[in-house]
């Protein structure tokens, strides 16, 4: 039966390829139905699997870990396009397995959706799980945050492989207590950076100890609820870090971890956390320091995460923000930059974004400095306009252009530095619209 399903799956992949279609998810969906919802159970994977999960940063960290092994000469399989549900992982393995379902590689490195960790790894043996953070994100799709954490916690109760956890996020650190017998729990941690605060700056999760319900106490907050916390009552949070990022200087940017000084390309505190997780995996798998250094120092992204476009002679920086934490970080970066600037905010409410856009009210727009004009776009262009207006921003300076090309034209109409924030499904269309403008100079509508 398994062989038959694999044969069928491979035929579907072939057909889709012949039709010029992307076989990223559909074959898995079909097999999911035919296999009694266990579409990852038909593969024989002999090599170690490393999975990365969490709300923000999965794609970056998964790609960096893959590079650690690739540069060490290993043969790896990775879901680079971010098809991270069970059906996406099934589709990936279908393309890489032989007719008996055997997957040949040295390592499988899989970005995995938070809610699918128990689903996928009850069907395939996992060696290492990296958990980056849990933030409010797409709550309406996943149900409440606590339900999500409970799901992964349930998986961790019987998991005895390597668990690499963000020790500064109480939501992820608590997973380290799920299985007291697991000796392979490892925490990564970061010392305070220049903009760390004593008080919480943005709306957040997890103010209470999940074990004894006492309020958690923080030495410092790095961003959102990420920081050095402890429960004074039951000592939750009192652990010895496996790896620590110290001497963090985002202006250069540099940080030190495991005795090495790293110079990453991206200058945000959450990139430092991501890269510390990468350095933690490198330490665990004895990757050569030279290789780790080159991965961390070269890693950058061209997918709407601080990507730059030229609109004529005007520089525009695009950043993805799929939740308040990401958006607040971008606003901070924007504010820390001198001079006047204009903002385009593109907000969609497609299924993958989460249909609920109320998260925009957790963005702290009152910190706007020298923002001379705002253009809004996307399927929820008006919602973000109202939100910015009610933060006290002059509504006369807000222009709503639901159509993206109109919005980019409107943004480029005036001089000056531009910032663009787009949420999940808005990023690619926004990149395309910015590119179209760069290439045609905005003359295509004349």
């Amino acid at each position: 039966m398994k062989r038959l399903l694999i044969l069928l799956g491979k035929i579907i992949v072939k057909i889709l390829n012949l039709l010029g279609r992307n076989a990223g998810n559909l074959p898995g969906i079909i097999l999911w139905h035919l296999s009694g919802q266990k579409c990852c159970s038909m593969f024989k994977v002999d090599c170690p699997i490393i999975a990365v999960t969490g709300t923000n940063g999965k794609t970056s960290v998964t790609n960096c870990i893959a590079q650690l092994f690739e540069k060490s000469g290993k043969n790896i399989i990775i879901n680079r396009e971010g098809n991270n549900l069970d059906t996406g992982i099934c589709s990936l393995l279908l393309r890489h397995c032989d007719m008996s379902g055997r997957v040949k590689a040295d390592y499988l490195i899989l970005e995995t959706d938070e809610s699918h960790v128990p689903v996928v790894y009850s069907q395939m043996k996992l060696e290492t799980l990296v958990v980056l953070n849990f933030f409010r994100d797409q709550l309406d799709r996943n149900g409440e945050m606590e339900t999500l954490i409970q799901k992964i916690n349930g998986f961790c109760k019987t998991f005895d492989g390597n668990l690499i956890l963000n020790g500064d996020d109480p939501n992820t650190a608590r997973l380290g207590c799920a299985n007291p017998k697991n000796k392979n729990v490892k925490y990564f941690h970061a010392e305070p950076y220049k903009f760390a605060t004593e008080k919480i700056f943005e709306a957040s999760e997890g103010r209470f100890c999940p074990f004894c319900s006492e309020p958690l106490e923080y030495d410092y907050y790095q961003y959102s609820h990420i920081g050095k916390f402890i429960c004074k009552n039951c000592k939750f949070g009192d652990y010895k870090p496996y790896i620590t990022a110290s001497n963090i200087d985002l202006e250069k940017p540099v940080f030190t971890a495991n005795g090495h000084k790293y110079s990453p390309k991206l200058n945000s505190i959450y990139n430092i956390y991501n890269m510390t997780a990468v350095a933690g995996v490198a330490k665990l798998y004895n990757i050569k320091p030279k290789i780790t250094d080159s991965v961390i120092s070269k890693y950058t992204v061209n997918n709407g995460r601080m990507e730059t476009f030229m609109l004529g002679d005007r520089k525009a920086t695009l950043n993805l923000a799929k939740n308040p934490v990401g958006a607040n970080m971008t606003l901070r970066v924007m504010n820390e930059m001198n001079g006047d600037k204009e903002l385009l905010f593109v907000l969609n409410d497609n299924v993958a974004d989460g249909l609920d856009v109320s998260w925009i009210w957790d963005i702290n727009f009152s910190i706007f400095e020298r923002v001379t004009r705002v253009v809004t776009s996307g399927t929820r262009a008006y919602d973000i306009a109202v939100r910015i207006k009610c933060s006290g921003y002059d509504p006369e300076k807000i222009t709503v252009c639901p159509d993206l090309d109109d919005a980019v034209n409107e943004l480029a109409r005036t001089e000056g530095r531009k910032f663009v924030i787009a949420n999940y499904t808005a990023v690619q269309p926004t990149r395309q619209a910015l590119k179209r403008y760069s290439e045609n100079g905005g003359n295509d509508d004349e």
Binding site: R136, L139, D140, G143, E144, M145, E146, T147, A203, R207, F208, S213, P215, L355, D356, V357, S358, W359, I360, W361, D362, Y382, D383, A385, V386, R387, K389, C390, S391, G392, P395, I398, V400
Partner: protein, 247 residues
């Protein structure tokens, strides 16, 4: 100058779906009219406030866990809140706040959280956490004397039953129970609802109903609110109404 005093309860815990935005909006709309709007906060561990001194008490929504945390503390406030409500303080209650003013809330595991019992309704969450009422919602309410379509977003497991006087009728979405006809609970000084979004974002009439109530409750001569330019808010609502109702 007119003045409104608001008590925002458990702002640090019951703020799951941008509900604090409602406070930002009320403050904004008061500010535009020269009405002073003072927002005090109360949470676990703070000194017990004198509730009747407030014109409006606001409680937002939270996850089950947060709701369990605050419920014991909220019960301690029962007498104070009841006294305030009886003396005319406006109660503005979203989701969890709505549920906890009823008789009880029974969660998905069968645990019963005692409510304040100010109102007769009660809420039961289905045993499957997957069965939630999630999505955009449009209701029609007549609390302002004219029919107004109110657009928001609902996300609740709890099914609220025994509501005597709902806030509105459901035109799109679920309401108090899955696929129910009615949404929320209403009295002249109570708006209790499942609507997030936050609720006031694109429904300026509801904000103004509450502001008007608050500044008029102690005044002898009726005070009329100055009109604001709500074009963005109304356009925003219209886009959603067209999308949801005119399919």
């Amino acid at each position: 100058m007119s003045k409104i005093k608001i008590l925002h309860m458990y702002a640090d815990m019951l703020d799951l779906y941008g509900d604090s935005g409602n406070m930002e909006i009320l403050k904004y709309r008061c500010g535009k009219r020269g009405i002073e709007c003072i927002i005090d906060k109360y949470s676990i561990g703070d000194d017990m406030p004198y509730f009747p001194e407030y014109d409006l008490i606001y409680i937002g929504g939270g996850a089950d866990l947060e709701q369990q945390h605050i419920s014991a503390d909220l019960l301690k406030c029962r007498q104070g809140i009841k006294k305030a409500y009886k003396s005319g303080t406006f109660l503005f209650l979203i989701c969890g706040g709505y549920q906890l003013m009823g008789k009880y809330y029974r969660d998905a595991d069968g645990n019963e959280i005692k409510g304040l019992g100010l109102f007769d309704y009660f809420t039961v969450a289905p045993s499957s956490r997957k069965k939630r009422c999630i999505g955009n919602i449009v209701i029609q309410t007549e609390i302002t004397g004219k029919p107004v379509k109110v657009v928001g977003f609902e996300n609740h497991g709890g099914q609220t039953q025994g509501v005597k006087n709902p806030l509105g009728s459901v035109l799109y979405g679920n309401g108090n129970c899955s696929k129910s006809e009615h949404e929320g609970y209403f009295e002249k000084n109570v708006i209790a609802t499942y609507l997030h979004g936050p609720m006031l974002a694109k429904n300026p009439e509801i904000s103004d109903y509450m502001i008007s109530y608050c500044i008029n409750r102690k005044s002898v001569k009726p005070i009329k609110l100055t009109k604001l330019n709500d074009k963005l808010e109304k356009d925003c609502r219209q886009v959603m109404i067209e999308r949801l109702l005119n399919k």
